[in-house]
């Protein structure tokens, strides 16, 4: 869901400085000020929820103020690395759930007592996993989002599609009908970027395959298993039938909702908040449905992207940081987050919005220390590109990607 592009204005080869004075914990404890790093998503999306948490915290800890500093996805890790090396770490930091494992493995976070947080017994499994390492909890799930299909009700009506598709086959038929209703050159019935691996991998998991599995401390790429290959083949057929997006596009540039707003797509697949940006023209003729599985009646597993909150080990106010997190992920806070269209962190609060129903079946990336390297090495994307352009057969591409994944995940 969170298709972050790890961008930095200039590279940061993080060179930690060593020895002497720059020892851990040398930072002067800011006199009664708690520093929290949240992403700009919170600043634009739900600033009042943040304010409420701050008020609660200040009530519980008189004399303390909270300084929330908003970060960009593109460079917040760089900044974090700098503070780990030189001091002034925040007391709470928001991390993407795929970013967590690497930092947990390196010992960047302080362990937390799970029981002090609201609803922790019923945390969403997919989210909770990302905050867990070696049996200890380092990250508290904050919120999540799944993938849904956003569609044009008027185009569906025009194509004579009476019922929303409940299986992949029905969706493909619907796509063919939409294509026939003639909506201009470059129109995609279902706009999916060829290399949008969040969508493609869903097919793999739908057929029972997986990206990688671990055994005895080693990781093994599993995309060349028969089930995974079935899934990839299903994806290839679906893409060729339903999408006119570029085969080498990964779904971020252009944004699918921009394509939708131009009228060049009848269905787009992505987080539920895509409906915000479909443009004034189609706002009233837009609705969402859960992407169907190849098994009739079931939903396609959705990637459960989300954020966790952690306390850096170099913070001088660790227990206070944990308290702030408790306030920010309290039941009332999570209810408010849900009202904003997010998936809350606990099954106890799950409702039946399209977004939440899509989360009923979900998948997550392998929780390996080096998973981030697989993502950044574009292994999955390259594989998809090769498959769709026909450069390699599904089997060949999957096999080579699998080998690649095996070596990267094992730290080669």
């Amino acid at each position: 869901m969170r298709s972050r592009v790890f961008v930095a204005a200039i590279a940061a080869v993080a060179l930690g400085v060593v020895a002497a004075t720059a020892s851990a914990g040398q930072q002067r404890a800011q006199a009664n000020k708690l520093t929290v790093w949240l992403q700009v998503d919170a600043q634009s999306g739900w600033p009042e929820i943040v304010a409420a948490a701050n008020t609660q915290f200040q009530q519980d800890h008189p004399g303390w103020s909270v300084d929330v500093q908003y970060q960009n996805w593109t460079d917040h890790l760089q900044k974090f690395d700098a503070t780990l090396a030189g001091g002034n770490s925040p007391d709470v930091i928001e991390m993407g759930n795929t970013e967590m494992t690497k930092y947990m493995a390196a010992g960047a976070f302080a362990p937390l007592d799970k029981t002090t947080f609201d609803n922790s017994a019923k945390w969403l499994a997919g989210l909770a996993k990302s905050g867990n390492y070696g049996g200890k909890t380092y990250g508290v799930p904050y919120y999540a989002g799944s993938r849904v299909a956003t569609y044009r009700t008027d185009l569906f009506a025009k194509a004579g599609i009476k019922k929303l598709p409940t299986s992949l086959a029905e969706l493909t038929t619907a796509a063919k009908k939409l294509m026939a209703t003639g909506n201009g050159k470059g129109f995609s019935p279902v706009y999916v970027g060829g290399e949008d691996w969040y969508v493609a991998m869903a097919f793999v998991y739908d057929y029972g395959g997986t990206i990688a599995r671990t055994q005895g401390g080693r990781w093994y790429g599993a995309l060349d298993s028969p089930r995974a290959i079935k899934g990839l083949t299903a994806y290839k057929n679906f893409f060729l039938a339903a999408s006119r997006a570029s085969k080498t596009n990964d779904g971020t540039k252009p944004n699918p909702y921009d394509v939708y707003a131009q009228g060049s797509a009848a269905v787009i697949v992505g987080p539920s908040w895509y409906s915000c940006c479909v443009g004034a023209k189609y706002k009233t003729t837009t609705a969402q449905f859960v992407l169907p599985s190849h098994i009739k009646g079931q939903s396609m597993p959705g990637f459960l992207g989300g954020s966790d909150l952690a306390v850096p080990v170099t913070s001088a106010n660790k227990s206070l940081g944990a308290d702030w997190i408790k306030d920010f992920t309290s039941t009332s806070s999570e209810k408010a987050l849900r009202a904003k269209g997010n998936i809350p962190n606990t099954t106890a609060l799950l409702g039946s919005s399209i977004n939440e129903r899509a989360a009923a079946r979900s998948w997550f990336v392998p929780t390996a220390k080096h998973w981030v390297d697989v993502e950044n090495g574009n292994i999955l994307k390259n594989m998809l590109g090769q498959i769709l352009t026909g450069k390699l057969t599904v089997k060949q591409a999957a096999s080579s990607a699998s080998d690649n994944i095996t070596s990267v995940l094992n730290g080669a």
Binding site: S3, I10, A11, T21, S44, N72, A85, N88, A261
Partner: protein
């Protein structure tokens, strides 16, 4: 004379075409900043909106801390440029007009520093500044920018100063000026075009610098405009293109103003080399 005028007209035309080609992307940015949202994402590009809107500019200006960030950027950049150019000018005089031991080493240092990939220095620099308590402070950023501006400023100014004929210095010294005094009096006006070009460059590089400002400054109230701009792109959600491009347009204005103030010094043109002293 006639031939020169027509030649001028022909060249003028070329200049205008060149202007259009070079500035097109900037024009695109500015014109998009005035477009209503549906024209921004429309399938067919709109060259110039017939229903321009100031909504994006308003949205940009009303983001929190906008004016604070403008102030911070101005303080940082003006200080950096003023100090850097002054120091670099003196050092360039030394390099260009004096012979002293260590001169070659100094030159190598000036070039060598520019060959360093800045990327590798971000975290060590952060650690050093943290030690002097210059993290999260405008002065820390100024020191950093100066460190990067000085080498190329010294280097570039040296090139301009070398060209100034020695006879002029000696002429000035007949008047009883000390050597250094002579330099400053004579060289300053002659090196003016070079000083201006270098200071414009220092201004722009510092004004647009992003990564060090991002890493070194934490408080919302201490950040620069480039960091402010980046927050439009930092979200994983919808990018407000209109506001981003409006913000970018605003960010470019001070540079343009600075240039217009100093451009006459570069426009020597036909009266150039005219130190008919």
């Amino acid at each position: 004379m006639n031939r020169r005028r027509t030649a001028s007209a022909g060249w003028n035309a070329v200049a205008v075409v060149l202007f259009v080609v070079m500035v097109f992307p900037v024009f695109w940015m500015i014109s998009t900043a005035f477009k209503p949202d549906d024209q921004i994402i429309g399938a067919n590009p709109t060259w110039f909106s017939l229903h321009p809107t100031l909504a994006h500019f308003r949205a940009a200006i009303h983001t929190p801390f906008f004016w604070t960030d403008v102030k911070n950027s101005l303080i940082i950049v003006c200080t950096t440029v003023a100090i850097s150019i002054a120091l670099a000018f003196l050092a360039a005089i030394a390099l260009a007009k004096y012979r002293f031991t260590g001169r070659k080493l100094f030159i190598v240092l000036m070039i060598g520093i520019q060959m360093l990939p800045q990327a590798g220095l971000i975290i060590p620099l952060y650690v050093v500044l943290a030690r002097y308590h210059q993290v999260n402070a405008l002065t820390g950023v100024i020191l950093t920018y100066m460190t990067f501006a000085l080498p190329f400023s010294v280097w570039t100014l040296r090139g301009f100063i070398i060209n100034i004929p020695r006879e002029l210095e000696e002429a000035a010294m007949v008047d009883g000026n000390s050597r250094l005094g002579a330099f400053v009096k004579i060289l300053l006006p002659l090196a003016a075009p070079g000083l201006v070009a270098t200071s414009v460059f220092a201004f722009i590089t510092s004004w647009n610098e992003y990564i060090f400002a991002r890493v070194l400054l934490n408080d919302q109230g201490k950040q620069t405009l480039t960091v402010w701009l980046s927050s439009f792109l930092g979200s994983s959600r919808h990018t407000d293109w209109g506001a981003l491009l409006a913000g970018s347009t605003l960010t470019a204005i001070p540079v343009l103003v600075f240039f217009l103030l100093v451009q006459r010094k570069i426009a020597f043109g036909l009266t150039a080399g005219a130190v008919k002293a």
